[in-house]
């Protein structure tokens, strides 16, 4: 029941935000076109189809942070798909006498042609998107670039289907800009809604940190692919409507340069939010037109000024406001904060899990260097185990092996009766191990609460058998209540560490793995960290495995301590026993002899 309500609330918010943005743009457009002239109407038409294309890019590039040069290829596919089913049969027989796939007898009206274009593009693009979403680093960008050139050459040379470089004309034209406005509104609602869905928020998490997101149970591939497919739908809508608004289509409309123009609109306004995409489209379309008129039409160099405008604007924005003009100041985000409702607390008492975490006989070599040479650790439910040792002892490597970031050459990792030895980070997280990072990997551009809430979304699906406290309770335990609406990246160092702790706990894990939670903290802060770790771990009933250099912190917090040295276990036992062990003093302070 509450699920339906939440969905309705999201839809209302998205529609409201979209309607407000459309109203603003429409008011501007009316003021502009009231000055008269058909050329002004066609500029508005161009802006509206740009709008839809920019939003299509925003859904993928803005949310996943993966740069794509290939979106225009799919707009082109959609435009040509519209043309080959939209052009009346007689005209088509003349222009494309040898058209394949039995398209010679197919004719759809405007709505049918648009739907056909969207379906075709989503199918082709969706298959292609599997390759894009699987790759990491710069490879996806290169794959999209390759797609652009492939489609360009196919369109130019598959003359039976496309009539080649000359393009196709005679597509029944839409009357006025009404349908473009409708399309822009639909695109806005879709782009807004996507950012509020589960998968959309996961996509945003992968943008913020490609390594932390899987470590919290978010699958990179599905989040990216979902964003890609939705983005294909919008790009197809934009491409199809543009073709129908102009009445013709040709390869020159979908070059790399035209794609870059759309990309500039996206990044100048601020790619992370939908309002930014809107602002960017209006500014760049208008500016581009203005600078085009500056050129002397008698001379060949009519195109030179828009390039100057585009390059200059983009350079200034990148130097001064790399997040775009709006950054994260989204209209829908503002609405979201206004309508935030604290979920009702769950009444259950936390209980410790019943699984024991065992890593045994782990071996890792990096080239000739032996990082781990048979070390291991066992953590029982609800227990706090400290892991210490000098630099290079293999502590963080052991952590990375347990959480699946580094592959071990020997040994086993199990959680209860679940084998985790060769599992991927995302599956290990879902199985119940949540970690923090030595070098802080927060979702920096998101609010403090959103950092925690995102992980709770994963927990709701994959950790539903555990007690899951709401975000605000965890933030209170970590002492972050007053910062809940701040951007995570703006917190001071100590609070960022506490937020990582709360975020990991929100996964409702069996065990929290904390990598140097007090590094860079003062004595007082690290005292307070003991309390934060205890209350957060108790809240979710999790055991803790913690690495730290601060011996005082470790002895205060741990039930059991394991000392590593040169990849092996040097000693283990209660804090008192470990302190008294002469071997430990030697490893830490050098030879005592």
């Amino acid at each position: 029941m509450s699920g339906v309500n939440a969905g309705l609330l999201r839809l209302t918010r998205s529609t409201l935000a979209s309607a407000a943005l459309v109203a603003i743009v429409a008011a501007l457009a009316m003021a502009y076109t009231s000055g008269g002239g058909a050329s002004r109407d066609s500029l508005i038409a161009e802006m509206l189809s740009n709008f839809i294309l920019v939003l299509g890019m925003q859904v993928f590039i803005g949310n996943t942070g993966v740069l794509s040069f290939g979106h225009m290829a799919f707009a082109q596919i959609a435009a040509y798909a519209t043309a080959v089913v939209g052009i009346p049969l007689a005209a088509k027989a003349k222009a494309l006498p040898d058209i394949p796939f039995g398209l010679d007898s197919v004719h759809y009206g405007p709505l049918g042609a648009t739907v056909f274009a969207i379906v075709v593009t989503i199918i082709i693009g969706g298959i292609f998107g599997i390759a894009v979403s699987r790759a990491s680093g710069l490879a996806p960008t290169m794959i999209t670039l390759a797609a652009l050139f492939v489609v360009e050459q196919l369109v130019k040379n598959w003359k039976e289907l496309t009539r080649g470089a000359g393009g196709l004309s005679g597509i029944p034209r839409l009357e006025g800009n009404g349908w473009l406005w409708v399309g822009a509104f639909i695109a806005l609602v879709v782009a807004h809604l996507f950012q509020e869905t589960r998968i959309g928020r996961f996509a945003i998490a992968t943008r913020e940190d490609e390594l932390a997101a899987p470590a919290l149970g978010i699958r990179l591939f599905s989040a990216r692919w979902a964003a890609w497919v939705v983005s294909m739908g919008l790009i197809a809508l934009g491409g199809s409507l543009r073709a129908q608004s102009l009445g013709s289509v040709n390869p020159k409309q979908f070059t790399l340069d035209s794609g870059i123009l759309i990309l500039v609109m996206l990044v100048v306004g601020g790619m992370r939010c939908v309002s930014g995409a809107v602002l960017g489209t209006v500014l760049i379309t208008a500016g581009n037109e203005l600078f085009r008129q500056l050129g002397d039409p008698q001379r060949l160099d009519i195109e030179r000024f828009p390039d100057l405008f585009l390059g200059g604007t983009m350079l200034l924005v990148m130097l001064l406001r790399p997040g775009g003009l709006l950054g994260d100041r989204d209209l829908a985000g503002w609405l979201r904060r206004r309508t935030y409702r604290r979920p009702p607390p769950t009444g259950e008492e936390p209980r410790a899990g019943s699984n024991t975490l065992v890593a045994a006989e782990i071996e890792v070599h990096f080239g000739g260097f032996v990082a781990l040479d048979g070390a291991g650790v066992t953590v029982r439910p609800g227990e706090v185990v400290g892991l210490i040792g000098p630099n290079g002892a293999g502590k963080t490597t052991l952590f990375n092996v347990i959480t699946g970031i580094v592959l071990e050459q020997g040994g086993r990792v199990t959680l209860g009766d679940r084998e985790l030895t060769d599992a991927k980070p995302v599956d290990i997280a879902r199985a119940g191990l949540a970690r923090t990072f030595q070098n802080l990997r927060l979702f920096k551009n998101l609010s403090v609460r959103e950092n925690v809430a995102l992980t709770e979304l994963v927990a709701a699906r994959h950790r539903s058998h555990r007690v899951r406290p709401d975000a605000d309770t965890l933030l209170a335990d970590a002492g972050l209540t007053e910062w809940a609406d701040r951007q995570a990246g703006t917190l001071d160092y100590g609070n960022q560490r506490r937020l990582e702790l709360a975020r990991a706990a929100a996964l409702a894990p069996d065990f929290l793995l904390l990598d140097e939670p007090t590094s860079g903290m003062s004595d007082q802060e690290s005292q307070a960290m003991v309390e934060s770790v205890r209350s957060v771990a108790t809240r979710v009933g999790a055991g803790v495995l913690v690495i730290d250099h601060d011996l005082g912190f470790i002895t205060r917090i741990s039930d059991h301590i394991v000392v590593l040295n040169e990849g092996r276990i040097l000693a283990e036992g209660t804090p008192a026993a470990v302190r008294a062990n002469p071997l430990v003093a030697e490893a830490y302070l050098g030879s005592s002899a």
């Binding site: 390594l211 350079l315 990148m318």
Partner: protein, 298 residues
């Protein structure tokens, strides 16, 4: 057989130009994680510099110095006016900054010179032919391959033997650690840009000897291929950049030469085939041939 040898020589010729450009891109990526889309503009700068040099009566003997000198200056200048100010920004921001420079470069040549092509004479000997064992070669083929080999050898010496080269490699591995060892960030980065400019300048010489003409957007096509070559090799890997460049050059010429024999009527799709192969490669090996593991700490 003749055709095969001819094709391979052509491929190595184009490929070595890609390799020189890709090496510069890889070098810059190594020191600051920037994929420099403005790198191709250095060719354009070299081309206009030599055009003006000719207008004022310059000869081809001095041309390489003019082209390389202007490319080095332009490369260092882009770092000073733009990249220095976004040095610690995300790779995405860095890339878009270089994109902005690329656009601006197009605009400036269009406004201050002309959007039209400006041609000047080529050296007389470039397309002279000679025969070895019944196969005919152009002088330029030999020059291209020899100059590239010499430049690569020089690069290897610089990066293996000189303090500058070692600092750059150290910085590429782990900039923070390198800085702690006394490497000066500004100097290393400026030096890397200067060296990348030198490599682009050599590439520009080879390109301009074949087709001596300056055009505002002439750098873009070369740039895209060079970026692809660098990523194929593995960004940040010097060997990778060279291998990537040569492989891409060979792939292009071989596809163009032999695709029509394999599949009749497919000759018009040769570029498409090359790009499909590239896309497939990236799906299989997203990190390129020589994966560079950065000292990324977790």
């Amino acid at each position: 057989m003749t055709k095969l040898i001819q094709t391979i020589v052509d491929g190595l010729g184009v490929g070595s130009t890609y390799a020189l450009l890709a090496l510069g891109i890889s070098l810059i990526f190594g020191v600051m994680h920037l994929v420099n889309f403005a790198h191709g503009e250095l060719i354009t700068v070299g081309a206009y510099a030599s055009y003006f040099f000719f207008l004022h009566g310059g000869s081809w003997w001095w041309m390489p110095f003019v082209i390389i000198g202007s490319a080095v200056l332009a490369s260092v200048a882009t770092e000073l006016v733009a990249f220095r100010w976004v040095r610690n920004a995300s790779p995405f921001t860095l890339l878009l900054t270089s994109f902005a420079l690329e656009r601006l470069s197009h605009a400036l040549w269009q406004i201050f010179v002309s959007p039209k092509q400006r041609a000047f004479p080529k050296p007389a000997w470039v397309f002279n032919q000679f025969k070895v064992a019944g196969v005919s070669f152009e002088v330029m083929d030999v020059v291209t391959i020899a100059v590239t080999a010499a430049t690569l050898a020089l690069t290897a010496v610089v990066f293996k033997r000189t303090l500058f080269g070692i600092s750059v490699r150290g910085a590429a591995e782990d900039f923070d650690a390198a800085r702690l060892m006394g490497v000066r960030a500004n100097r290393v980065i400026s030096g890397a840009f200067a060296f990348a400019g030198l490599l682009a300048g050599v590439a520009a010489c080879l390109i301009l000897m074949r087709s001596p003409a300056a055009e505002p957007s002439m750098g873009s096509d070369w740039l895209l291929k060079a970026v692809i070559a660098a990523v194929i090799g593995g960004l940040g890997s010097f060997t990778g950049a060279v291998v990537g460049g040569l492989v891409l050059g060979l792939l292009e010429t071989i596809t163009r030469a032999y695709l029509p024999e394999l599949a009749v009527g497919w000759d018009k799709f040769s570029t498409a085939v090359v790009f499909v192969l590239i896309a497939v490669f990236f799906v299989i090996r997203p990190d390129g041939v020589f994966k560079v593991s950065h000292a990324e700490r977790v």
